[in-house]
Amino acid sequence: MSFWDVLCWIMLPYAAITVFIVGHVWRYRTDQFNWTSRSTQLLDRKTLGWASPAFHYGALAAIGGHVIGLCIPESWTHAVGISEGSYVWIAGVAGGVAGLVTLAGFLGLLYRRTTSVRVRQRTSWMDIFTYLLLTVLILMGCWMTFGWTLFTDDPYNYRGSIAEWWRSLFYFDPDVEAVHGSPFIYQLHAIVAWLFWGTFAFSRLVHAWSIPLQYLGRPYILYRSRSPQAEPMPRRAGEVTETTGRSPR
C-alpha cells in the first residue's frame, strides 16, 4: 500500500466520517438558528418553481440508487435471481433518469443563482463551495452512468470493486485492494464525495436531516406553555387535537 492509498482510501474516508458525525453533533447543539433550508423563493420564484423540485427529487432518487448499489452486495442480488446484465440495465436506466433530472434541476438552480442578482447576494462562500462539489459530483455521476454503464459494450461492475471497499470501511477493515484497478473517474468520484460528506455539516445541506416527516402524524394546532419546565409539544399536543379532528389520546 502506497502513501496515496492510505491517504485516499483509509485516512480520507475515516476523517470525513469523523468530521461528519462530530460536525453534525456540534452544529445541532450550537447552531440551531442557522439550521435552515435558507430558501430564496421569496426573492425569485420563477426558475425555482421547476428546478428545485427536479433537483431535490432527482437527488433523492440518486441517493437511493447509491444506497442500493453500495450497500447491497452483488451476491445478494444474484441470490434472488437478478443477473448482472439485468442489474446493470435496471440501475443504468433508473440512475440515468435520476441523474438527468438532477442535472437539469441543478443547472436551473445554478443559472438562477448566478443570474438573479437578488439570489446571488444571498450566496455565501460555503454555498459556492457546495455548488462546486455538487457540480463535479453530478457531472461525474452522469458520465459514469452513461459512459460506463449504459452506452458501452462492457459496463464497469463497480459492485465488485468500489462497493466492496466502501462496505469494508464500516467493518473497520478497509479493503484497499478492491479499489485498485477501478477506473480513475470512479476513484475521483469517491474522493470528491468524501470531501462532500466531510463538509456537509457546515453547509446549508444540513436541512436535509430536517425533512419534516413528523408533520404527517401531528395534530394541526400546537400549544406550548411559557413554562420552560413543561414539555413543549408532545404532551400538550394531545389536548388540542380536538381542534384538528384527530383523535387526541
Binding site: 438558528f33 435558507r38 420564484r45 433537483f55 447576494q121 444571498r122 389536548e239
Partner: protein, 562 residues
Amino acid sequence: MKVRAQIGMVMNLDKCIGCHTCSVTCKQVWTNRPGAEYMWFNDVETKPGLGYPKRWQDQEQWKGGWELGRNGKLKLKAGGRLKKLLSIFSNPDMPQIDDYYEPWTYDYDQLIKAPLSEHDPVARAESQLTGRRLENGIQWGPNWDDNLAGAPERIHQDPLTAGIEDQVKATYEQAFMFYLPRICEHCLNPSCVASCPSGAMYKREEDGIVLVDQEKCRGWRFCVSGCPYKKVYFNHNTGKAEKCTLCYPRIEQGQPTICSETCVGRIRYIGLVLYDADRVEQAASTPDESGLLAAQQGVFLNPDDPEVREQAARDGIPDDWIRYARRSPVYALAHRYKVALPLHPEFRTLPMVWYVPPLSPIVNTLETDGYEADPDDVFPAIDNMRIPVDYLANLLAAGDSEVIRGVLRRLAAMRGHMRKREVLGEHDEAIAATAGMSVEEVEDMYRLLAIAKYEDRYVIPQAHRELADNLMEQQGSCGLDFEGGPGNCGAVPGKSPAGAGAGVRKAQTEIEGFMLTEEGEDDEPVRLDIIKMLGHRGDGSRGGSDGDTGGDGLADPAGAAG
C-alpha cells in the same frame, strides 16, 4: 368545557386617522434590521385598495386559511400534510417579495460627497436586496395606494369590490375610503401553525399569542402561504419565518403592545377573552360562512358566569386573570355590545383582532341632490352611507350585510342618544331601545368607545412568573437568598426559615405572592421596602393604581353576580 385565556384586540376604525404611527413604532421596535426591511408586523391599509401584500385577501390566489372539505371537515385550503411535504421544495403559493414591495434605501452619501455643481445633488433609490440602484425606479412600496392613490386604475383590483363594482367608485364625488390597521390576528384556530411542517409555530397556552420558534424553524415557508392574512413573513437574511409577537415582552408586564401604546387616535383596545378550547374546531367548521361570527362569539365564555369562573380556575387560569377578563374591553365590544367584528371570518381561523366598522361619514351620497340627512334620524342614513355596507360586509362579515347594519345601527343609536343628551339636554330612552339596548348599555358603550382612559382601553394582566420561570430568582435580584445565606428576601423577618432549600422556595413564593396579588396583601404586618419597589417595578404607579382601584371595583360585580 376547557377554558383558555386569550389576549385579544379591538380596533375602532371610526377613529383611525391613518397616521401610520403604529406601523412606524412597530417597525422601529421589531423589524428595523437586515432581512426584515420589507416586513411590517403592523401595517395600515387604505380600503378600498390592494393591501399588503397585494390582493392578500384573495384566497383563490393565495390559498391561505381553512376551508370545508366535501365531508364537512375542516382542512387547509392549500392542501393537506402529504401535499405540503411533496411540494416542500417549491411552495406553489409562496408570494414573491415584489408582491410586498422591493425594499429600498437612498444613496444618501451622494448628498454629502457630490462635487459642487449647478444643480442640487439627488439621492437615488437603491434596492436593499441587491444594493444596486433601482434602474426602473420604485415600482411599489408600503402604502403605495395610501389615501386612494392610483385608485382610478386599480380600485377594482381590490378583491373586496368583486360583485359590488357598481357601488365602489373612484370618482372624486363618489369615492369613499377608510383605514384598516392590521397586525397578526393571533387566531384561535391558526392556519399558519397548522401549516408549519417543522412544528416551530405554536400558540401559547397562557395567553394565546402565536409565535415562531426561531430555533426550530427550518424555513419551509408554508406558514407564509398558510396565513390568509399574510402576517407571517420570511426573513431572507436568516432564512426563518417571523411575525407579530403581540409585543409579548410588554404584554407579560401588563403593558399594551407598542402599536397600541403609540396609537394617536386611541383606537385600540386590549383585553382578555376566555374561550372554550373544546368548541374551537366545531365553530371553525360551521357550514355556513355567515354563521361563523355567531359561532366564534359562541366560543367566547362569559367571565361573569360563576360556572365559567369555576371551570377557568380548575383549568389553571389564575384568579387575577379571571378578574381582568371581567373588565375586558375586548369582550365588551365583541360580545356584550356586539359592535366589533372579526376580520374575514370566512377564513375560518377564528381571528382575535376585531374591528368596529366605521360609521362616518354619514354623509349621504344623495346630499348632492339636495337631500340632507336628519341628524336625529340616523338609521335610514346607514343604507345611504358613503361606505357601502356591502363593502364592509365583505371585509368583516363574510358578505352578510345584515350583520354590518346591526352594528352600525347600534353605533348610530349611541350617537343619536348622546347627541340628544349632550346637545339638547333631553333624556330619550327610545333611541337606545330601537337598537335593542338599554340606556345604561348605550352610555357604557359610549364611555368605552369615546372617552375610555388608558387603563380602560388596556386591561392586561401581568404574566404569572411562578407558573413559568422565576426570572427574579434567576437574576439573583434578591441577594440574600443564596445557599447558606441569611435569606428573608421579601419575607417577614423571623418568619421565613433562615437557610437554603425550603427557605429559598418559601421566600420566593412570598415574593411572588406580593408581586402578583393586588388585594388583601395587608395580612402581614412587615414588608421590606426594597421588595415593594421590586414588586411595582415594571408597571409603575399606573399599574399600581390600576390594581388597587381595579381590585376594589371588581369586587362589587363579583358580589352582585354571585
